[in-house]
Symmetry: C2
Subunit: 128 residues, 2 copies
Amino acid sequence: MELIRIYQCFCDRTRLRILNLLQHGPLCVCHLQRILGEPQVKISKHLAYLRGHQLVESERCANWMVYHLPEEPSELLKRNLACLQDSMREESVFQRDLDRLKEVLDELGADCPACVREHHQHQNSCRS
Amino acid sequence: MELIRIYQCFCDRTRLRILNLLQHGPLCVCHLQRILGEPQVKISKHLAYLRGHQLVESERCANWMVYHLPEEPSELLKRNLACLQDSMREESVFQRDLDRLKEVLDELGADCPACVREHHQHQNSCRS
DNA sequence: TTGCAACATTCCTCTTTCGGAATATACCGG
DNA sequence: CCGGTATATTCCGAAAGAGGAATGTTGCAA
């Protein structure tokens, strides 16, 4: 049942933090690692879990692996990701991660895949 | 984190079926047992799990234990139960359980707590 | 090539979850 | 108090989840 696959992904704190960040655009593992401040193996295994449950997709980009939410999510997934995003607003940890996202993007600068950089530059130019 | 407690409850098929039924009003264990067609110990343990995670509350009513969704759910829980209800519409198993709910209510008739009976009688009179 | 950086996977351990069989508990009617 | 009905708990084994240490893999750059 797809519903259960979705909720299985939602019941770990680290995975929720990852999904929160990916709602704002694609990221590579090194970004996630720095933003979350967790060991590489932990991030990598949770990403594998999410991929196995079809909650994220990934592409290799030169030296990096870029993870993002599914390009064509089902209605079910869309609805539940939207509800999740609302729900996450109430916990400060998720807001702190988003603040940290901006810092880390600046910090790493050009040292990440073009697709990631471009997405977030575009986001910034829209916002400012 | 309350969010995780909620999703932990959502990632088992039997628990989803129970929550689906309880969205329509309080029920006792014997109702759930007959509707779901699962052994008593299984129902009882999932109810204990849900209670431990504060997704349901229970009261003894003479010989029966009546379970229902929290009287004063948090905004978080309300939002997620609403999303769950939308999501469950797409799986036929949940609709079948609701059909079976009516059958079992008739079948058991007066052989259940007054509070359960009254709730569902009221529902019926409203519908018809 | 070689070396390095970014990730993934394997192995191990601890904990949680899930299901069933058996047993216990609570309440009712007589 | 007793028997019966409704429900809970305990004990067991199998499986999944989560984290870390160590090791493998992949791709680029010199």
